[in-house]
Structure formats: C-alpha cells, structure tokens
C-alpha cells in the first residue's frame, strides 16, 4: 500500500481515535540511546501515531534547533553510524504499526551512494525520506531512483515560497507534503494563527497530497487547529523535551495532554 493510501485510511479512522489530525513524531537515532528510542516509540504507538521520522544523525544539522543539534552531536559522539540507523529502522518497522520515514541531511545519502542508500532504506522498511537541505532543483536523479524503489521524497513547502515555486514543489512531491509553519529552525513555538491558515490554504491550491504541519506543535489546540486546516501534526522538539525531563512517564503525560480533551 502506498504511503498516500495508508494516510487516506488513517484519516478515515481518526474519528475512532477521537483526534482531529494524524500525528507524525520524531526520534533522533541513538539519542539518548537506541533503548530510549525504543521505549519512546512504544509510548508513541500507545497513542496511535501514524508516522514516525527516524533522524539519522549528521554532524552539521543546520536546519535543526538547539535541542536536536545536541541530540545529533551526542549520537555521533556515542558512535552511532548509518548502518546502526538502518538496523534500528528494520527492527522498528517490523515491530510497530506506524509507518517509518527517514529524516536527515543529504550528505548522509550522498556519501553512502544514492542507490545503496535507497536500497537499504527499502530493505529496512522505510516508506519515505525527508532531506531538508536538498532542494528540489538538485534532487531530480535521487527522486527518479526513489520512484524505482517505491520510496517517496517528502518535500517542504514554506511561507516564503512563491506560487510558482509551490507548484514546482507539488509536481515533484509524493506521499505527503511537509509544510513549514513558520520561519526558523526546529523547536521554537508557533502561534497558530490566521497567517498559517492562509499559508496552508495556499499550499492546498497546489496539491491534493496530505499536508503535514511542522515546527512547534506542543498542545491539543495545535492539533485541533491543524486538523481543521491540514492533515498531519508534526511533533518533534516538544516530545524530546518531555523525554529528557522524565523518560516514558513524562512522554506519556505529554501525549495525554496532547490528545485528550
């Protein structure tokens, strides 16, 4: 089943989950450890998240905010390699029911070799990849190769893009689209407001793919807002903060306040 069809099915089931938007969560592979990752994923599964990004640590995470920068660095310092991330992804995709997406930076793919990377991603049960520093203009070959493997490139749409550019992005996108709710890096808060609604509407004019809204989602009203205007709420920094404050207990508390009215 394609990622897009999976998301369509999930969308149908939102009523049963008493939730207005689908959820995509995030873990940095090997931070604080793969054991911690696994426990965090078990909590995420409990709350029925639909998608999980597994971030492959990179030494120059220039699109990430301070918390993820530290997480990337710590994971590398602890000796996490690309091969470990794929091995972990295979375990995760075999065990859990959510779909798994690789998130990282283009050099990880480039240095591994595009074809080898895509092959390993497919074998590990990944569905798609998000590479925030690879612009669509440079991604033609990778995207074509990915299509051969049935892997979806997830592209970002941003409030600074022109309509012409949004159309170009929409033409290349598959699976779903990651819309960036505001300027800046990961982890700062966003005021869910009219501007954002307008921006999502602008994205919607260019694509029928599900829209994920990223950057700064931390409370239930954010999820409701996203459910009203888009499809998938992206939860990144806030969940890692909860984990750092108190492991599975705090993370469960976080998801409870996030999903229950």
């Amino acid at each position: 089943m394609s990622l897009q069809h999976y998301l369509a099915d999930c969308h149908e089931q939102l009523g049963d989950k008493n939730r207005r938007a689908m959820l995509m969560t995030h873990v940095v592979c090997g931070y604080p450890s793969f054991e911690d990752n696994w426990q965090a994923l078990e909590v995420m599964q409990e709350f029925g998240v639909e998608l999980v990004e597994l971030q492959f640590p990179f030494s120059e995470p220039s699109a990430d905010g301070p918390l993820f920068v530290k997480a990337n660095q710590s994971a590398i310092d602890a000796g996490v390699h690309v091969a470990d991330c794929f091995a972990f992804m295979r375990k995760v995709s075999n065990h859990f029911s959510f779909k798994v997406i690789m998130m990282g930076y283009y050099n990880t793919v480039f240095k591994t070799g595009s074809d080898s990377f895509l092959k390993q991603l497919k074998e590990a049960g990944g569905e798609a990849f998000i590479l925030p520093d690879l612009p669509v203009d440079e991604a033609g070959e990778l995207h074509s190769a990915a299509a051969q493997y049935g892997l979806d490139p997830i592209l970002l749409m941003t409030p600074t893009n022109t309509d012409e550019r949004l159309q170009q992005l929409a033409n290349a996108a598959r699976g779903f689209i990651y819309t960036v709710a505001r300027k800046g890096v990961t982890g700062s808060s966003t005021d869910m407001n009219q501007d954002l609604a307008e921006f999502i509407k602008r994205c919607r004019q260019h694509t029928d793919l599900p829209l994920a809204v990223g950057f700064g989602v931390s409370k239930k009203s954010d999820i409701d807002f996203i459910g009203e205007h888009a499809d998938i709420a992206v939860i990144g920094t806030a969940a890692l903060q909860a984990w750092e404050q108190g492991g599975a207990v705090k993370l469960r508390e976080f998801f409870t306040q996030l999903t229950q009215s």
Binding site: S59, E60, S62, A63, T108, T160, N161, G184
Partner: protein
C-alpha cells in the same frame, strides 16, 4: 578563461562542484540575492563605487613589496609579497565585506550576520556594519573566541554582538551552521555576509568577484616591480577567498604557476590537519550549502580538523579551486604548524614583516621552493593578513618568556583590581 561563465553548464557549478544546497525556506532569499548580485556585477558603476570605497576607506591599492633579504638568504627566486595586511582591519577580508555591504544597501536590508574563524572576517564585518549603520551579529566558535580574543574585543567595541557557538567542534563550520539558523529565521531584514568563497551559490562567485581586486592590482604591480610576471604565486587556502582573489589576476597567464597552501597541522592523518586536497584524507560531499571536498568519515560526518591558524581550520574548500585543481591549473600543498612557525620567524627577523599565521602558510611553502629556483625567477606570495592578532598564539609557539611574564603581571593587576 571566465570562471563564471555558466552558459555551457549549470549555474553555480564549477565542474561538478558548487551548487546551492539550502533549506527550502531560503529559496526565495537566495534567488533575490542572485538577482541583485547579477545586477550589481553587470553595472560598471557598482564596481567603481566599490573600488573608490576601498581606496578611501581601506588604503587600496595595497602595495607589492620585494623581500630582498629573504630572497638573498635563500639564494633562489626573487620573492615579492602582496600586502593585503595593509588593508584597514588588517586582512583581505575587508574587500569582500565592503562589497557585500554595498550590496546590502542596494537590497534595503538593515541587519547583517557573519561567521568568523580567525576573527578577521568578523572584525571586518563589524567595521562595515558600524560604517554603514547596520545592526550586526557575529557567530564565532567558542574555541576560536578563546584563541582570538583581540578580534572579539574590537568587534564588540564597534557595536557588534559576538555570539560564541558551543555546538560541534566550536569552530568555523559550526559558526556557519549557526548563521544559517539565524538566516532562516530573519531573512526578511538580514543579509548573511559569508566570509569566504564557499557555501551556496552565489557566494563563491560573489566573494571571488570582490576579492579579484587583489589579483587585478597585483598583476600590474608585479610587472612594474619585477619587470615580468611571477613564475609562481602562493596563497594560503582555508575557505579559499584570498587565493581565488589573487589567482584571478593571472588566470589567462598559463605560464604562471598557482599554488594553494593548506593547513598541514601536525601532518597527514585524519584529525591532524585541515588539508582537503594536498593530503588524501578528504572526499566529495555536500554540506554547508555546497558540493565540494570535505574532511569527513564514511558516514558523511565531518572530522575534527586542526591548524595553528584558526582561519584555515575548516572542513571544506572553495569549489572553484577544486575544479582548477582537477584541471591542473592550481597545485595544492600542505604546510605543517612547525614549518609555519619557522617561516614566521624568518619573515620577522629578515624583513620586519609579520604575516598572519594563515598567510605564513604561503610564506612557508614559498620558502621551501624558492631555494630550488633560479635567481631570475620570481615568486609572489599573497600576504593575506597581518599577524598582530596572533600575538598570543605566536608568543606560545615561540615560547616567549618576556611575553609570558607581561601577561602574568597584567593578570595579577586585574585580579588586584577586582578585590
């Protein structure tokens, strides 16, 4: 040859190197920058405004000086140096910075940010921001802040906020990442004054263009001073902006050999140095907005680098120079910290010039090769900056007892003042 004729290739690519690898949120910003830069580059009045600003504010043209004592001592080629150290703020960095400052005015932005390694680019940016009335923030690796305090002092006193970056290796590359993070948030009013001919297109081209003022002047000056073109030109290469700056004056002169001098640090071996091309420890990758050679591991994560010179202590290298290296137009050599210290001592004692530790890499390689050359041959070294800023590092390298005593007394005095 026009290095920037993209007619038969892809815009922003030099061979297979370069490109624009940035988060989507900066797409519009970088497109605007490309457009404004293109307009400025095609406008002869803009270049004239730039040159006249550099004359009135920075003392250009900087001279070419002969080094007769050093040449005689080595008994080989006649050595000349291009005096970028005599610029205002003490290095070639001001060329690029004032040029980008003029561009910022044209774009109507009010805030500038910059990364800095040795502090020279940050110092120059702080100067430019003060002069043009821009708000400014300088990101500098915490390790570099610790080893380049004098430059931090001047930046702060010229009104810039200096932010020590504590991520990663806490050096130049991490400061660049931090600038990108600032830029994705504040692009509406902010221009990122990238300091070297690296990063996403159009920066390599733009920085090279402003730095080409060095080469244009130098060609005319050396012809007058030496009566012929130089046989070899040496320039240190960190990011590579002073090197591409001087080399551009001699691109058509195929008989002039161009030599890029990288930081050999402790010598070959991963983590010991910052030589991307001269040693065999680097490979092609995509990071910091560009595709080029990086000192990285098999996972594509960047390696630790080392150099006595903060300004050369960088993982990547100018994509234009990589292409010229592959075409055998530029030769790359690495110079160790030890060789740099020796070259610095010779330059000070014999000629009374104090090259920056960065520039001293060019001196060291030239000194090595000069002895093998004939007295009718000519060497030109780009003295990209002055060494005053390095007084703490140089004093340590020379183990200068008087200096140590002075610092101890000064520190004791401050401690006394606090109590």
């Amino acid at each position: 040859m026009d290095l920037f004729d993209f007619e038969n290739g892809r815009e922003g690519y030099y061979g297979e190197y370069g490109g624009t690898f940035l988060p989507e949120i900066l797409h519009t910003t970088i497109e605007q920058l490309k457009t404004e830069f293109r307009k400025a580059k095609q406008d002869p009045a803009f270049w004239q405004e730039f040159v006249s600003l550099m004359q009135s504010y920075s003392g250009r043209p900087t001279p070419v000086s002969p080094l007769p004592n050093l040449s005689a001592k080595l008994g080989g080629a006649q050595i000349y140096i291009k005096r970028e150290d005599l610029n205002h703020t003490g290095s070639h960095k001001i060329n690029n910075v004032m040029g980008q400052g003029l561009l910022v005015k044209r774009m109507g932005k009010s805030r500038v940010i910059a990364e800095t390694g040795a502090g020279q680019h940050g110092y120059a940016t702080a100067t430019m921001a003060a002069r043009f009335g821009f708000e400014s923030k300088i990101y500098m690796g915490a390790v570099d802040v610790a080893r380049q305090r004098p430059n931090v002092f001047w930046m702060e006193n010229m009104g810039s906020e200096v932010v020590p970056v504590t991520d990663g290796q806490q050096t130049l590359k991490d400061a660049i990442n931090e600038c990108l993070r600032d830029w994705v948030t504040n692009m509406d009013n902010t221009h990122y004054v990238l300091g070297t001919a690296c990063g996403p297109h159009p920066f390599p081209e733009m920085v090279s263009w402003f730095q080409s003022i060095i080469g244009h002047e130098a060609r005319e000056q050396i012809l007058t001073a030496a009566g012929k073109l130089p046989d070899r030109i040496y320039a240190c290469v960190g990011g590579g902006s002073n090197a591409i700056g001087i080399f551009q004056g001699f691109m058509e002169d195929t008989e002039v050999e161009l030599i890029g001098c990288e930081a050999g640090g402790f010598g070959p071996g991963q983590g010991n140095h910052a030589a991307r091309l001269a040693y065999k420890d680097a490979s092609v990758g995509v990071a910091q907005g560009m595709k080029t050679y990086f000192l990285q591991n098999d996972d594509g994560n960047m390696l630790e680098t080392h150099s006595v010179a903060a300004g050369l202590d960088y993982i990547g290298v100018n994509p234009i120079l990589v292409n010229l290296w592959e075409k055998n137009r530029v030769r790359f050599e690495a110079v160790t910290d030890q060789e740099v210290t020796e070259a610095l001592k010779l330059s000070m004692r014999l000629e009374g010039v104090i090259p920056a530790l960065e520039s001293a890499h060019g001196f060291a390689q030239a000194i090595k090769e000069a002895t093998q050359m004939q007295p009718n041959e000519v060497i030109l070294i780009n003295m990209s900056g002055r060494g005053d800023k390095d007084i703490f590092t140089i004093a340590d390298a020379l183990d200068d007892q008087h200096w140590k005593q002075f610092i101890s007394e000064k520190a004791a005095g401050y401690r006394g003042g606090e109590s």
